[in-house]
Amino acid sequence: FPVAPEAEDEGKTLELVETYLQNFYNLQRDHQPHLRNKGENPLAAKLKEMQAFFGLQVTGKPDLRTLEIMKKPRCGIPDIGEYV
């Protein structure tokens, strides 16, 4: 099976995920993940939205399959919300 990404890539992974969700899933750029906030982490919520759109397992976590899709060349229009 494909090998999980090495730990030191996590910074890059987070950047990829955040940029992708900001570009295509309306993740607000100024979101600050708070360790103790009551609601769900906005990034995880948006990640679930993206996973649902692509028919992936909705885990809210950047698993391998999700990252694979995020690295695919694609259209610059967002998948949800308005593009004006």
Binding site: N23, F24, F53, F54, G55, I69, K72, P73, R74, C75, G76, I77, D79, G81, E82, Y83, V84
Partner: protein, 365 residues
């Protein structure tokens, strides 16, 4: 659909090509754009007229990084292009990232495919969750000569602009779902322990140790292979998969197509009266490969590299009442014959059908 359901008031639209990419001949760029427009005009009452040096509804241009529309491009790969929903000014315009490797074939990014997708946005469509749809957000290559607008996209655009004026309404391919009880297969082959089910331009891939069935475009692995493969089998000895369509066959080695292919099937010893192969499987123990065509079958000796004498024979006389064979493969000593949505498990030693199942029995539905 795009929020607010924007659409053009008139069905008769104009387009203008503002500039060109140095990576393609101008004529090829114009041809790709014209073909992309026809994808949508064929299934709706829409028409597109090209204009020069005047205002147009849809302006198509190649742009570089920040091109003053609040959506800068990101260099090679990543975001390939974007387009704006119907409206005045920038509305309907298509922007293509100049730093992409634009081509008219399977290399780099096919301009026709990308422009056709972006024009969907120009006409009011948003992204589709159907992985086989043209309006699916991720790029995937299909040979432009084989391109058919999928049904999902036809349904979408006709919901906005109505049906085509053509006497016969156009229909498009549907994305196969592994657990669709009506699913039939074009061809099936084992491949290094996995089973590959070919259907239209897709392959369903089943690994014995994974419950999930993976669906990919055939072109993802072998961009030079056509869709609609008609027969396939694995020669385990040589680690090759042979795939057949009409009177040609290809040899696959891993991710590569062996040089010099496709070749005519007659090189294998078929008579000229045979025009296509319906199904095939190879018995790794005997080195014999069985080809099924209509109600007869041939047997090929992989060691001698020639057809055995005394063939063709009638399928029913040696395999029983399995009817015409759409696809076949051998696994763990049994041969599995597929006919429509039915599958027969055949024991070549006792020459008996030992079980009958649904065609989708391999997918853990």
């Amino acid at each position: 659909f795009t929020k607010g359901n924007p659409k053009w008031k008139s069905n008769h639209l104009t387009y203008r090509i503002l500039n060109y990419t140095p990576k393609m001949r101008q004529a090829d760029t114009e041809e790709a754009i014209k073909k992309a427009l026809s994808v949508w005009s064929k299934v709706t009452p829409l028409t597109f007229r090209r204009v020069e040096d005047e205002e147009a509804d849809i302006v198509i241009s190649f742009a570089y990084r920040d091109h003053r529309d609040n959506s800068p491009f990101d260099g090679p790969n990543g975001q390939l292009a974007h387009a704006f929903q119907p409206g005045e000014g920038i509305g309907g315009d298509v922007h293509l990232d100049e730093e992409e490797a634009w081509t008219k074939d399977g290399r780099g990014y096919n301009l026709f495919i990308v422009v056709a997708h972006e024009l969907g946005h120009s006409l009011g469509l948003s992204h589709s969750t159907d992985p086989g749809a043209l309006m699916y957000p991720a790029y995937s290559y299909t040979d432009p000569n084989e391109f058919l607008l999928p049904q999902d996209d036809i349904d979408g655009i006709q919901a906005i602009y109505g049906k085509s004026n053509a006497a016969v309404q156009p229909t498009g391919p549907v994305t196969p779902e592994a657990c669709d009880p009506n699913l039939t297969f074009d061809a099936i082959a084992t491949l290094r322990g996995e089973i590959i089910f070919f259907k239209d331009r897709y392959m369903l891939r089943k690994h014995p140790a994974r419950t999930v069935t993976e669906r990919n475009f055939i072109s993802l692995f072998w961009s030079k292979l056509p869709s609609g493969i008609q027969a396939a089998y694995e020669n385990i000895e040589t680690d090759e998969v042979l795939v057949f369509k009409e009177d040609k066959y290809w040899v696959i080695r891993g991710y590569d197509i062996a040089p010099g292919y496709p070749k005519p099937i007659y090189h294998l010893g078929f008579p000229k009266t045979v025009k296509r192969v319906n199904a095939a499987y190879s018995d790794e123990n005997t080195g014999k490969t069985y080809f099924f065509i209509a109600d007869r079958y041939w047997r090929y000796d992989e060691n001698k590299k020639s057809m055995d004498h005394g063939y063709p024979r009638k399928i029913v006389s040696d395999f029983g009442k399995i009817g015409r064979v759409d696809a076949a493969f051998q696994k763990d000593g049994y041969v599995y014959f597929f006919h429509g949505t039915t599958q027969f498990q055949f024991d070549p030693h006792t020459k008996r059908i030992v079980r009958q199942m649904k065609s989708i029995s391999w997918f853990n539905c």
